[in-house]
C-alpha cells in the first residue's frame, strides 16, 4: 500500500531523514517509533504531501506522492502532531468545512459528521458539536482532529502521536478505535511510547537519528530483545563455589554469576535462546536439599531494546559525524 524507497530529507543543512526504506501492507497498523528528533514527524509530513522530500521515492497505492499529489491527498487522512484547528469555528462548522474540502456531497455531509462524532466520542455532551474549537480541552481537540481524519473514510490514515495529551481512559478508547480501523484502513502512527504501540500495531518501525534501527512485528522484535533469557534463583544451603559448581551441571545453562546476601546465594543463569530451565533448577535444589526462595525467568522488555537500540544508533551517528569532521 505504502512504499518508501531511500527517503531523504535535508532541512537546509540539517539531515532529518537519512535514506529510509520500508513497505506497508494494506490493512496493517504500523507504529513509527523513535526518540525526540528522530525524524518521525518529518517522514509523515512527506508521506502526506505536506513537505517535499530531498531524495527518494514514495508511492501510496501506486500513486507517486510528488507527481500525483491530488490523488494521494484524496486517499489520505492526516492528523498532525499539534492538531491545529481554527479557534473561532464551531466543531460542527469545522467538520462541515473539512467535508466540503473532501468533496463529500451535501446530502451525505450531515450523516458523515454524525458518524464520526459518534465514533470519536464527540456526540456525548449534547452541545459538544456546538462548542468553539478554541474553547476545547486538549483531549477534545484531539478527538476533533481524529473525527476530521475519518470524515471521508480514507483508505490510508496517518496519525502523528494520536494519544499524546489524552487521559488513560481515552488512551485505551483511542487504542481500541485504531485497532478497529485495521483491515479496512491502513494506519501509520507515530509515538515515543513503546508499550502503547506494542499493543496496537501489527508492525513496528523503530527509527533513530533519521535511520531505521529495527523493523518487524512486536513479537519478532521482542524475540530479538529477549535473546538468551536469564533465570534468577535464590537458594540457601552451600557456599558460593559449591553452589556454582552444582548449577553448572544443569543442562542448557551457559553462564553463571553468583552473589551472596548473608546465607543466600543469588544465581544469575543465562540459558540458550528458548530454553526455560526453571524446572531443572528446581529439581537440582530438591536433590541438594537447598532452600529456594525465588525462581523466575527474566525477559528483556521491548522498552529496554528500544532504549538500547536508539542509544546505539545515536552513538553511531555521533561517531559518523565526528569522523566526517576529522
Amino acid at each position: 500500500m505504502i512504499d518508501v524507497k531511500n527517503l531523504t530529507k535535508w532541512y537546509g543543512r540539517v539531515l532529518a531523514v537519512d535514506g529510509i526504506s520500508f513497505h506497508v501492507e494494506r490493512g496493517s497498523i504500523v507504529g513509527f517509533l523513535g526518540p525526540n528528533g528522530a525524524g518521525k514527524s518529518t517522514t509523515l509530513k512527506i508521506l502526506t504531501c505536506y513537505l517535499p522530500a530531498t531524495g527518494g521515492k514514495v508511492t501510496i497505492a501506486n500513486h507517486d506522492i510528488f507527481t500525483e499529489s491530488m490523488e494521494v491527498r484524496r486517499m489520505l487522512g492526516y492528523m498532525p502532531e499539534s492538531v491545529p484547528l481554527y479557534p473561532e469555528m464551531r466543531v460542527v462548522e469545522y467538520l462541515n468545512f473539512r467535508a466540503r474540502l473532501r468533496d463529500i456531497p451535501g446530502s451525505r455531509r450531515q450523516a458523515e459528521i454524525d458518524r464520526v462524532a459518534e465514533r470519536c466520542w464527540l456526540s456525548k455532551p449534547e452541545n459538544m458539536l456546538r462548542r468553539r474549537l478554541g474553547e476545547l480541552s486538549r483531549g477534545y481537540k484531539q478527538r476533533v482532529g481524529l473525527a476530521d481524519v475519518l470524515l471521508h473514510n480514507p483508505p490510508v490514515l496517518v496519525l502523528d502521536e494520536p494519544t499524546i495529551g489524552l487521559d488513560p481512559a481515552q488512551i485505551r478508547s483511542m487504542r481500541e478505535l485504531i485497532q478497529s480501523l485495521a483491515g479496512e484502513h491502513t494506519v501509520i502512527l507515530s509515538s515515543h511510547i513503546l508499550a502503547e504501540v506494542e499493543q496496537t500495531c501489527t508492525h513496528l518501525i523503530i527509527i533513530a537519528g533519521g535511520r531505521i534501527a529495527a523493523t518487524g512485528t512486536p513479537g519478532e522484535l521482542r524475540d530479538r530483545v529477549t535473546g538468551p533469557s536469564r533465570i534468577i534463583a535464590e537458594v540457601r544451603g552451600e557456599d558460593e563455589q559449591a553452589t556454582v559448581q552444582a548449577a553448572k551441571t544443569i543442562r542448557g545453562a551457559k553462564e553463571i554469576q553468583v552473589s551472596s546476601q548473608g546465607n543466600w546465594r543469588r544465581l544469575l543463569i543465562s540459558s540458550e535462546q528458548d530454553a526455560d530451565i526453571r524446572g531443572e533448577v528446581f529439581k537440582l535444589a530438591g536433590q541438594k536439599g537447598w532452600q529456594l526462595r525465588e525462581l523466575r525467568r527474566e525477559i528483556g522488555s521491548l522498552e529496554d531494546f528500544f532504549v538500547q537500540i536508539t542509544y546505539e544508533q545515536n552513538l553511531q551517528a555521533g561517531l559518523w559525524k565526528s569522523a566526517a569532521r576529522a
Partner: protein, 246 residues
C-alpha cells in the same frame, strides 16, 4: 470552483469573529463620516455634505481610496500568515485542494468584506441624494473604481501574507509596497526629472482611480488594476507552491 467558495466562505465568516476586522471597518467608516460632514482641513478636503456645495461623492471617494493603503493590509495580513503560525496550513494543504483554489478563495473573502464596507458607505450616498441629486454615473464609476483598486491592493496584501508567519510584518510589507504605488509614485511624478516622472505616472494607482472618481471610465485604469491583481495573485500561488519544492 466549489472549494474556492468553501475557502472564501470560511474566511469571510472569520472576519465576523475578528475584533480587528470590526475595528478597522468601523474606523474606515468613521473616517468616511468625518470627510462627509466636516472635510479634512489638513489635506484641503472640503466637507461633502454642505449646503451650497455641488452634491458629489468625489472627495469622499478619494479619501476612501487613499485610506485603503492602511486598511486593506490590516485585513489581508492574517490570510495565509495565520495558517502558518497556527499550523493549520498542514491540514489545509494536505486536503485535496489546489494552491490556486486556496489563494483565490482567500482573495474573494477579503474582496467580499471590503464590498460589505463599501455597501455600508452607501448610507452617505443616500443621505446626499435626499438633500441633493448627485450624479448617478459618478457614484457608480466611483464604487467600481474602489472595487478595482481594492482588488489590486488586496492581492498585494495577500502576497505579503504568504511570505511570513508574522502577521504584522506581512501588513507592514504590504503597506510599503502599496506606498510605492501611491505616495512614491506621486512624489516621483511631482518632483523627479524627465524619464522618471513619465514612468511613475503609469504606476500611480491613485491617479488611475481619480478618473473613476470623476466618472470617467478609463480602460488604462481597468487594465492597470486587473494586471496588478493578477500579477500578485500569481506570485502568491507560486509562493505557496514553492513550499513543495523547498
Amino acid at each position: 470552483m466549489k472549494k474556492m467558495l468553501t475557502i472564501a466562505q470560511r474566511e469571510l465568516a472569520g472576519y465576523f469573529f475578528s475584533p480587528l476586522a470590526y475595528g478597522v471597518g468601523a474606523i474606515y467608516l468613521l473616517c468616511c463620516g468625518i470627510v462627509f460632514f466636516h472635510g479634512l482641513d489638513a489635506f484641503g478636503i472640503p466637507p461633502v455634505f454642505e449646503t451650497g456645495r455641488e452634491p458629489t461623492m468625489r472627495p469622499l471617494f478619494e479619501m476612501m481610496a487613499s485610506a485603503t493603503v492602511v486598511v486593506l493590509p490590516l485585513l489581508t495580513m492574517r490570510l495565509v500568515s495565520e495558517e502558518f503560525s497556527s499550523g493549520t496550513i498542514e491540514t489545509l494543504m494536505t486536503a485535496p485542494i489546489s494552491d490556486a483554489q486556496v489563494i483565490i478563495g482567500k482573495f474573494l473573502s477579503v474582496l467580499g468584506f471590503f464590498a460589505i464596507l463599501l455597501a455600508a458607505s452607501l448610507f452617505y450616498v443616500i443621505l446626499l441624494s435626499i438633500y441633493g441629486s448627485p450624479d448617478a454615473g459618478v457614484t457608480v464609476s466611483g464604487y467600481l473604481g474602489l472595487l478595482l483598486l481594492g482588488g489590486a491592493f488586496i492581492s498585494v496584501g495577500l502576497f505579503t501574507s504568504t511570505l511570513t508567519g508574522h502577521q504584522l510584518l506581512a501588513a507592514i510589507l504590504a503597506m510599503v509596497i502599496l506606498s510605492v504605488f501611491t505616495a512614491l509614485a506621486w512624489a516621483v511624478v511631482a518632483f523627479a526629472p524627465q524619464p522618471w516622472n513619465v514612468i511613475a505616472v503609469r504606476f500611480n494607482a491613485l491617479s488611475y482611480f481619480r478618473d473613476f472618481a470623476r466618472g470617467v471610465f478609463d480602460t488604462r485604469g481597468l487594465v492597470f488594476f486587473l494586471s496588478v491583481a493578477v500579477f500578485f495573485l500569481y506570485l502568491s500561488i507560486k509562493m505557496l507552491e514553492s513550499r513543495r519544492w523547498r
